[in-house]
Amino acid sequence: MAELRTEEFQVNMGPHHPSTHGVCRLLLTLDGEKIIKVEPYIGYLHRAIEKICENRTYPMCIPILDRFEYVTAMSCNYVFSLAAERLAEIEVPERAEYLRVIMLELNRIASHMIFFGTTVMDIGALTPFLYALREREMIMDLFEMTCGQRLTYNYIRIGGVSRDIPKEFIPKCRETIKTIDEKIEEYKRLLNGNPIWKARTIGIGKLSPELAIAYGASGPILRASGVEYDLRRDDPYSIYDRFDYKIPTYQNGDVYDRYMVRLDEMQESCKIVAQALDGLPEGDIRAKVKPNFKPPEGEVYTRIENSRGEMGVHLISDGTNKPFRLKARGGSFAHLQLLPEISKGCLIADLVAIFASFDVILPEVDR
């Protein structure tokens, strides 16, 4: 009997594909449904943010960096402002630091809500996406109330924040985090007992801690692999040392753990926001910074814990009012290059689940 011959074939997944979360092209080499090789092709969203920033003054860079990672634009604002402040050694007022923490943590929750919705949708359940967006909407309302924007905030500025929160913010924010905390419990009840959900996520896309560290994985993906590393605690910035929160860590490094880490992180963020609201002092919201901001010569690399891992800005100043060099680093860039390593030998459906669990966002990769 003649042996059956099989033939590998290539499929272009993307640039326009529902589950690549933007415009990423994955060139899959398939044997039936089994994946032999994945090659990510990026650059479809390349907007030359780094080049443009070299030609703008420091305050003008912030709205451009909003577009660097638009799902957590607060973090983009913050990491750049932090770099500029460290260069110029600016002391930020107490109230501004509290407001920054509140906004950063609210934005982290909003971003993880998107993660939750899209991941569950990629695995086939359409409904939780709308639930997650409903909760995210409440946070968007808070942001709109504060800075008038819902996606690209331009709120955190060099030396402080752009404006104070309105009176109604605090009661509404307390109500929001209380609701979100309850809703996350509801999400857990909705999915964690579902056998199909478990079958699709547990043991899929296992990432060992050694591989994760070697490939520069950070944030929730690193913590899901059992490495307890959170820049908020381990490379402290802002006033995170004043709050009491846990760093959720899981051991298996599969899709399920990456999902659980993020759900737990949302609840921890709720705690931080509640504490920050309690401790919010009165006072200035912005240090005195000249409109024509000129930091002294030097270079600095700041990194913060974003919802997608380490977000960093490498800023070099030559003493003029424009950055000499600005390199933006997003967590997704490292995670996307990890994808081919761990998706070998799995099925197309698993690749979709792994891609979703990495929470890759393409503007952050391409910049």
Binding site: E89, G216, T320, R329
Partner: protein, 155 residues
Amino acid sequence: MTKEELKSYLESNYPELTYSESGKYDLLFIVEAQKLVKTCEKLRDDVKLQFNYLGNISGVDTTENYLTVYQIASISNKLRLDIKVILPHDNPSINSVQSVWPAANWYEREIWELYGIEIHNHDNLTRFLLPDDWDQGHPMRKDWDAPDFIRFPQK
């Protein structure tokens, strides 16, 4: 290990590293291009340091030189360090640190593509950010100008 301790430890045990004043927040050391990979390996395998995590590599064009800056960290010891390599402006080339940190792969590809710095011993040096048919040089270089790229007048 605090920043000062790390600085004195590196200065006493790593003669190939020279401290640079321009690093404002984290420590910045300069290393020669030939000794880069060896030093990085040593930093990673040093039990006291364990710089096992590569955060970022940025390329810089200072108009006189090219720089590559490696932002590395130690996850277990919670340390941060920047390592800078100064390359000549003509025919810049450097060895890949992929053997030390596999994460370097894409960062080096990006530097190769946008700055035109040649990377030796890299396993996959292909275009990925720019279009496949790009023939207009290396856009992140300071002397690169596009017809529709408007520079604001320097004040």
